[in-house]
């Protein structure tokens, strides 16, 4: 009986001792955590250069709260490994391996999006299946296995309202684990590290790099914007080009006018897609059309040449084009060919008619043909070409539509009036919210035979970028 009591008492005191040990361990952990947060904050206040800041932060974290840590910074949408620190006791080669390694999680996962803001990710017990998921390939899996990672946490770093990078902390050979009790510590840590790096100017450096890039892009884009239209004897003209986004001035819509044998060629086109890729196709389309047409003066050759060029690209690149020649000799007809594009319209007083049936768009089909339409445009008549961004412009009351377009074009007196009227109507209809590129080009034959004293509104009007 007495023996039992002693055993029980001994058991109880052992349990109590364990609780006390745990409590003091927890206190010690908390004190360590505070010390880490304090030293990270201190780094931020010392006005160090980026390099030293990264070094001191990682020193404060490893080995105090992690066996190794990695800081990735997002540059131009891609993660860049800014710092790696590996604590003592780990297997050899980890630091080099981590420095070279591509992050496991795609950058979007860390950066987040409008729908999914960035969240810290914590994994308490890393399993073999997790490694399988994190590994890029068998070699990488072997590397991850060799590290022997038990837990890790990825903390998104934010500065000035956007996610600028990520801090990854992991424990392996020390035998530690990150549990949910560490969540608060990590939340505070994330803010301190972000602030320290921002103070060091890391993110403003990135901002400068991005501004420099934007400047280069802008310069390149200027070369792709429609050029001022030339003066075409015997014709007056006006044009509008309005890209959807201010930050992306080159859209998929384009127009061009250039001399060919016996006259001028005018093209209006629309490349499918947006952004840099669309801009590169736009450039290719414009120069291909120009080259092919300058050599032959034939709209059909221009279309066929661009079709072959687009089919030859490895990516799927589609383009619609309306191409026509304006003859130098006013007794000759205008020649038009259309590939997948809204057909040019002839405006004669109140009548608005499509001039030519469209053939297939470019870049989609091999062995296709387009037809050539000859059209006499008399003095005072208008030839108007738009891109689908005009008719498809959405507003609170549906789409802009062809009916509205036709009724606006009827009885329009001049190319300038066409552009002004359409632009005003589109602005009103969409309430100023443009979602797609739009282009309008209007031409009128002037009364005089060979263009002497022709309206020079071509050059004056362009570009009307809203």
């Amino acid at each position: 009986m007495g023996t039992v009591a002693i055993v029980v008492l001994a058991g109880l005191s052992a349990a109590l001792a364990l609780i006390l040990v745990r409590a003091s361990a927890a206190r010690a952990r908390m004190a360590r955590s505070f010390a880490v947060l304090e030293s990270v904050a201190a780094v931020g206040e010392r006005d160090l250069a980026v390099e030293s800041t990264l070094q001191e932060i990682t020193e404060a974290l490893v080995p105090a709260v992690a066996d190794f840590c990695v800081i990735d910074v997002i540059v131009e949408g891609r993660p860049l490994r800014a710092a790696v620190r590996v604590g003592p006791g780990g297997p050899p080669g980890i630091e080099e391996g981590l420095s070279r390694r591509t992050p496991s999680l795609p950058v979007e996962t860390v950066v987040g999006s409008v729908d999914a803001p960035p969240v810290a990710r914590l994994r308490r017990d890393l399993s073999e299946a997790d490694l399988e998921k994190l590994a890029h390939d068998p070699g990488d899996r072997a590397f991850l296995r060799r590290i022997g990672m038990r837990s890790f946490v990825i903390l998104p770093l934010r500065a000035r309202g956007r996610t600028t990078g990520a801090l990854t902390l992991a424990v392996a050979w020390s035998g530690r684990r990150y549990g949910t009790e560490t969540a608060r510590f990590f939340r505070v840590l994330k803010g301190r590290v972000s602030l320290a790096l921002d103070n060091a100017g890391l993110f403003s450096d990135l901002g400068r790099a991005e501004r420099a890039r934007a400047e280069i892009a802008e310069t390149l884009q200027r070369g792709l914007l429609p050029p001022p239209l030339p003066h075409i004897p015997g014709w007056s003209a006006a044009a509008m080009y309005r890209p959807a986004g201010a930050e992306n001035e080159v859209g998929g819509d384009f127009y061009d006018a250039f001399p060919v044998a016996d006259g001028w060629m005018v093209v209006v086109g629309d490349v499918t897609g947006r952004g840099a890729r669309a801009a590169s196709i736009t450039g290719q389309a414009r120069y291909t059309l120009r080259t092919a047409a300058s050599l032959t003066g034939d709209p059909l050759v221009a279309l066929a040449t661009l079709n072959r060029a687009l089919l030859g690209r490895r990516d799927s690149a589609l383009c619609t084009v309306a191409a026509f020649t304006l003859p130098e000799d006013p007794t000759q007809p205008v020649r038009l060919a259309v590939a997948g594009h809204p057909p040019p319209m002839l405006v004669v007083g109140e009548s608005v008619v499509e001039t030519v049936a469209s053939g297939p768009l470019l870049g989609a089909f091999e062995d296709v043909e387009w037809s050539l339409q000859r059209l006499r445009v008399e003095a005072g008549q208008l030839l108007v070409v738009i891109t689908d961004g005009v008719t498809e412009a959405p507003g609170p009351r549906g789409r802009f539509g062809e009916e509205r377009l036709r009724s606006l074009l009827a009885t329009t007196p001049s190319p300038v009036a066409v552009v002004q009227r359409l632009e005003g109507a589109m602005h009103e209809f969409t309430e100023g919210r443009f979602v797609d590129d739009a282009a309008i080009l209007a031409l009128a034959r002037t009364a005089d035979e060979r263009g002497a004293g022709a309206d020079r509104s071509f050059g004056d009007l362009h570009p009307l970028v809203a």
Partner: protein, 111 residues
């Protein structure tokens, strides 16, 4: 504007994806994903009967998906476009190049 709604099912030897609403830049990737999910099916048809509007993004999607599927010996076609949609398909030459049919039977027979 009518939101995009996709319904899918097997009909007469083809996998038919029916598109209701408006098919434009904002939602085209949903249809693209639906087409890619049934990449192994021999015949995939996109039924546009309840579709009110398509733009050039949709055209690009059809052309690219058809090209990918034909490279694998599989078919992709469009069914029953309504007037606005039919006009866009005609304008871009998709109607004349064997992409548009009026019934599942016609499309399957053509493939």
């Amino acid at each position: 504007m009518g939101r995009l709604k996709l319904t899918e099912g097997r009909q007469g030897g083809a996998w038919v994806i029916t598109v209701a609403g408006e098919l434009d830049l904002a939602v085209a990737d949903q249809l693209e994903a639906a087409i890619d999910r049934v990449a192994a099916d021999a015949v995939v048809l996109v039924d546009l009967e309840p579709c009110e509007f398509i733009d050039s993004t949709a055209i690009a999607l059809f052309v690219a998906a058809r090209r990918r599927r034909r490279a694998d010996g599989r078919q992709l076609a469009i069914l029953r476009p309504t007037d606005q949609v039919k006009r866009v398909l005609e304008l871009t030459g998709l109607t004349d190049n064997g992409l548009v049919f009026e019934s599942v039977g016609d499309a399957v027979a053509a493939g």
